[in-house]
Subunit: 716 residues, 2 copies
């Protein structure tokens, strides 16, 4: 420490620029279990204000207070030469997760990342669609760096002279234990500007820390009910007749379809975009929208944000655009209300007011060689870097606000996002197509308040098509993106039956999925998440391994490895995908009894099982006492006020409880309390047979449930 102080005296003497001695910051509890500190002079534009977060203080208050989860004297901050240095402690055996949408890795300790919004380039190096500066520790806390800059994160790699846990140097000439990466006891972060806000989120569990982060960001999004149905994106140059025909085909073939996505060809010009209908392909948009709506189909429109000189808004928006163009389109400075207003007026007038239900906002992420360079200047004075890091947030916020004003929910796609975006009804997607990595991304999405779709585009074989279908239905958006491929769900006749079965299973699960999204909104719990967020999943495993080193403990070993191929969907379902070429796989069943989703048969308890389910099944397991509310395999989500019958499935033997959520499924009236939570309980009756009850909604609250039937799945 003495040496450290000596440095700073030297620094102050030697350096030209503004210096702040390294120090432990002081923390303010801004909500129960959420602390904030301000280091130096932060930028005006940060992630939380770009996202316009409105913390769910009520929900956070319900979660209750907690102790500050870190030794705050081990948190060090320092502003030197216009840059901010942050350090957060790590302890032995600690693992951390997060930093946004990574595709290859779940464990983040030992990585160096430069968080930079970009297309994903095949390496987990921080350049991704949503490089969220938030990480969560298995010790039950989260750290968020609220910066709109390109941050460099040393996630447990740097070794300091003054570290008490600094490893002994070893001689590489002769010592076989020499390691190229000696033990590091800290996460260190470089913020390339002279200040930043930091937030710490308490647990006690890692999931609690994620929940607090999501709730502080405003709660997770609650999609419209139709958003959880099936969606198909049509080839780019389709016209209105072809789209109508496509919808008819789905109906005729009995495949579910709730919304159709139109790709660039709906616009008169694209790349850059006019933001107006192409009148040759879509001669009468309002009539077309109406026709589709009568078939029960909503429309989602692709766009990118770059404004063509031929767009009606071009002249108006030009003074509020940056110095550089993208594909010849101007780049609106969406941090300026003037720019947002002009853009939103165009899409409102032309599309939203006539009835379009949402957007797919493309190309807000990268690559560098396409987007504005970091030397671009924007009229707000915010830097090109800051615009790059926040553009996805700004686009999501702008469009979400428009729909919110109309009291109509939307559910769309975004190519980029960032910290604070939990509440936006947008799902991230990309051009990458590794099925395995898509599942890893789905797992990672749950750590950082994001939604991700492992969308289907094409496949080489029926096997691949079905394997992808089996996972996309256990994701936030069940989508085929056929903009280029022209594929349909039935494109592979050898698996058409099974594909349809899973498409319909998605519809059957809607009451469950909708309730899980409600928990995302009201409680912050991500509906899709990695095993590491399952409370108690790896609790004690390290201790067990240490104490049982003479015995085999494959479970303890398995849960400590990086798990990137199985995940939770909601409270009760464990999904274990198979990928093309696989005929069997290992599944780690957490402690507690687990049952087969399809048969109700007992599957295991705190163990690693090997399963060979056949191509027609994706392994899904259900917790003991689980209650899964399902509905009929309809082709479209119920409309507002439309009754739906429930089949309530019960698994295992433990008494069970489930909170079923309901509202109109379309408006924001739930924000005014117009929703209901109904308690479903199953417990043995006097004869020891499982018996279920469902509570009534409170008076005046939504009640859309029709006939309720019960299905006891486990027969022992």
């Amino acid at each position: 420490m003495k040496i450290f102080l000596t440095y700073f005296i030297e620094l102050i003497l030697l350096a030209n620029s503004f210096n702040l001695a390294a120090q432990s910051p002081s923390w303010t509890e801004v909500a129960p279990g959420v602390w904030k500190t301000v280091v130096g002079n932060p930028d005006k534009l940060d992630l939380f204000n770009a996202a316009g977060i409105k913390p769910s203080l009520e929900a956070l208050t319900k979660m209750g207070h907690s102790q500050f989860p870190l030794s705050d004297d081990k948190i060090v901050t320092n502003v030197t030469n216009g840059q901010t240095y942050l350090r957060f402690p790590l302890v032995k055996d600690e693992q951390i997760f997060g930093f946004g949408l990574n595709f290859k890795t779940v464990h983040q300790r030992g990585k160096i990342l430069q968080l930079h919004v970009d297309h994903y380039g095949g390496t987990d190096n921080g350049r991704t669609h949503a490089p969220v500066p938030f990480y969560v520790s298995d010790r039950g806390y989260g750290v968020f760096v609220n910066s709109s800059r390109y941050l460099t994160v040393y996630a447990g790699t740097g070794v300091r002279k003054d570290s008490r846990e600094a490893p002994e140097p070893r001689d590489r000439n002769t010592d076989k234990k020499w390691s190229s990466q000696p033990y590091s006891d800290a996460v260190e972060i470089l913020v390339p500007t002279s200040g930043v806000e930091i937030y710490i989120f308490a647990g006690p569990s890692a999931l609690d820390a994620v929940r607090r982060y999501n709730l502080y960001s405003g709660g997770g999004c609650l999609p419209p009910r139709w958003g959880l149905g099936f969606t198909q994106r049509v080839p780019t140059l389709f016209n209105s007749k072809q789209v109508e025909e496509e919808a008819k085909q789905f109906a005729e073939k009995g495949f579910p379809l709730d919304f159709i996505g139109l790709e660039p060809g709906w616009q008169s010009k694209s790349y850059p975009c006019t933001f107006e209908w192409d009148k040759t392909r879509y001669p009468d948009p309002p009539a077309f929208i109406k026709t589709m709506k009568e078939m029960g189909i909503r429309l989602n429109l692709w766009t990118n944000p770059y404004v063509s000189p031929e767009s009606p808004m071009y002249t108006k928006i030009l003074p509020f655009t940056g110095t550089h163009t993208v594909w010849g389109g101007v780049v609106a400075d969406l941090t300026m209300p003037e720019a947002r207003k002009i853009m939103i007026n165009q899409i409102d007038h032309d599309q939203v007011t006539p009835g379009v239900s949402g957007y797919k906002i493309d190309e807000s992420d990268g690559y560098d060689r396409w987007l504005w360079p970091d030397v671009a200047v924007f009229p707000s004075g915010n830097s090109a870097e800051q615009l790059r890091q926040t553009y996805g947030l700004l686009l999501q916020k702008m469009t979400t606000d428009l729909y919110h004003e109309k009291n109509t929910r939307t559910f769309g796609l975004t190519r980029s996002s960032n910290g604070g975006g939990s509440s936006f009804p947008y799902v991230i997607y990309n051009d990458y197509y590794s099925h395995e990595d898509f599942i890893t991304a789905l797992i990672n999405s749950g750590f950082s308040g994001m939604l991700w779709t492992p969308e289907m585009r094409g496949s080489k074989t029926g096997e691949e098509w079905l394997r992808r279908m089996q996972t996309v239905i256990f994701s936030p958006m069940a989508m085929i993106n056929a903009w280029s491929s022209g594929t349909k769900p039935w494109s592979f006749p050898d698996v058409e039956k099974e594909v349809k079965e899973y498409a319909l299973l998605r519809m059957q699960l809607m009451p469950y999925l909708y309730s899980e999204f409600a928990k995302y909104h009201f409680e912050g719990t991500p509906p899709f998440r990695g095993m590491s967020l399952e409370p108690g999943f790896d609790a004690g495993a390290k201790l067990e391994l240490r104490n049982e080193n003479l015995n085999e403990n494959p479970y303890a070993e398995a849960v400590l490895r990086e798990i990137k191929d199985q995940y939770m969907t909601g409270e009760y379902l464990l999904i274990a995908p198979l990928f093309t070429g696989q005929t069997s796989r290992k599944v780690i069943l957490p402690k507690g009894r687990w049952y087969d989703f399809y048969t109700g048969n007992y599957a295991g308890d705190g163990e690693v099982i090997t399963v060979s389910p056949g191509l027609e099944k994706i392994p899904v397991y259900v917790k003991d006492g689980a209650i899964i509310p399902m509905m009929k395999p309809v082709l479209q989500a119920p409309d507002a006020g439309e009754k739906y019958d429930l089949e309530i499935r019960y698994y295992g033997t433990k008494p069970g409880r489930y909170m079923l959520y309901d509202d109109d499924g379309e408006t924001y009236d739930y924000e005014k309390g117009v929703f209901s939570w109904r308690e479903i309980k199953v417990a043995p009756d006097k004869k020891g047979k499982p018996s279920g009850t469902i509570s009534k909604p409170e008076k005046g609250k939504p009640d859309n449930v029709g006939v309720v039937t019960w299905k006891v799945m486990t027969i022992e």
Copy 2:
């Protein structure tokens, strides 16, 4: 322009930080054909002062004055929010080269690079061992950004609204000419600090611009004569007896050997390093050095710069080290004279004074996960980023200065370098091993004042071994690096004879190579360089293609493509390597008559030829009128004052002239004028037969040439 001004008024009103309106800088001619400007407030530590350059003003003056080579009103600089933006114009069809040690590409226009000293990771993205912020244009000028920061370079990718050459937007829906990367008219560079120095180097040719850059950096290095001999690096745990045995084997087998490299095991501990001999493997270093010297063998020692707690200098250097360790070793702040003095004293006392001839300085480049993080703090106040960018320069300068003080030349290896390093007697190397990419790197080294060795380590086949040998002898350092492989030149018996022949050819070429290095030093001309630096190589090709678009012009087409597999060695030799698996290749012979190096036969003139030389030959071509001074195939370079006989080869029919350089080959006395240039001329005598003359050295100047014989290679 009006819009642009409006922005800046807004910027000045809106932004918090220091602002300087965008402007054309004013230029000062600091040497003939070299202009400098200062933008904002540059860092104290930049590349030129880290390298300690001493411009060769005399040589620059000889090159003469020139017009400022760019439209200076098209150069724009701007300091905003603590960052500096630079813009330099590009014209249609212009190509640029440089930006340091790239491995895959020679043409740099259209690239985005983040210049960052690092191990090369397989992609030309700016992270490389020597990411020099210098580029040269085929329009005959060079641009250098004298910054020790991580620069982001948009080398003709950004498109500005205010560009007069901004391309028309196209509709991607229907226009097949749509491009994801529209035409860009500028190189834009982001310097992440509030100021920078810029230099412009005039031509008229691209080679002249490179020469001016090298001369301004102090002139290229002139290695000792023995540095151009053959070198072998021995396995890491070799002891003194084994090294002596190795040297004997070379002599017995008749393979040339001038210096041997010892790898980590010569040190008592490595990674981190003690910087002292290991007394078990090297019990008596002075005696060992003496024994080797008596065999004519000099020694080069590997080290990395990280100081072990067990090094004798540890306690002394500790106060002058950064906050973070590398493999447990401390990182000296080599921008501080105190740190340099302590380190240099250790190696001087322990190694240099006893007679060690040079160093291989490893691990100064990366990876991020090994080196100090950017959050590290150094006692000088220079940032971790600046130390990273300059560490290779600082290490080269420190050791070069030590040898310079002793008036003894050194020639070593460095893992990293940067702008301004032209004069250091160090060759860059790395762990990568693609033979093709090694040649591309050799070509690129010539654009940015670097030397690079396509070192040999191992090979899968004799074919590969010989193909690598055939190129490493046409490189700055003819080396086998057997630290891990234990290979010898004769490791592949099927090609032993041919390998020896090329090793000996290297020795024969020494008078030519030494003279070419002298031209590097005195005239700035890189001894190894790409075809694009050959004056007139592609002159008029664009025009030809444009005017002859109905006829085939394969030569014009070929010279405009990226050429990364043939290069020039010195004034006259064109080297066209074959790689494993190839039995034939195309060679572009520039305009003018060319001859086969081995036979003197006519090969072609301004055309693309296809050759199938067999495994035993690497195609080498010689310019018309070329004079190649060669010596006998000795096993070691001549010592100071030792006479060597010359065989002067003459090719073609044009009258020829060559300037042969001579000095003692070991000291820096050439800086005091103790050198000679001898003019060799060949012209037809009265009977029309070629006849040669060689001038005498000036009185009192070095004269080491013994018997001169002449060899007319071309018989027509």
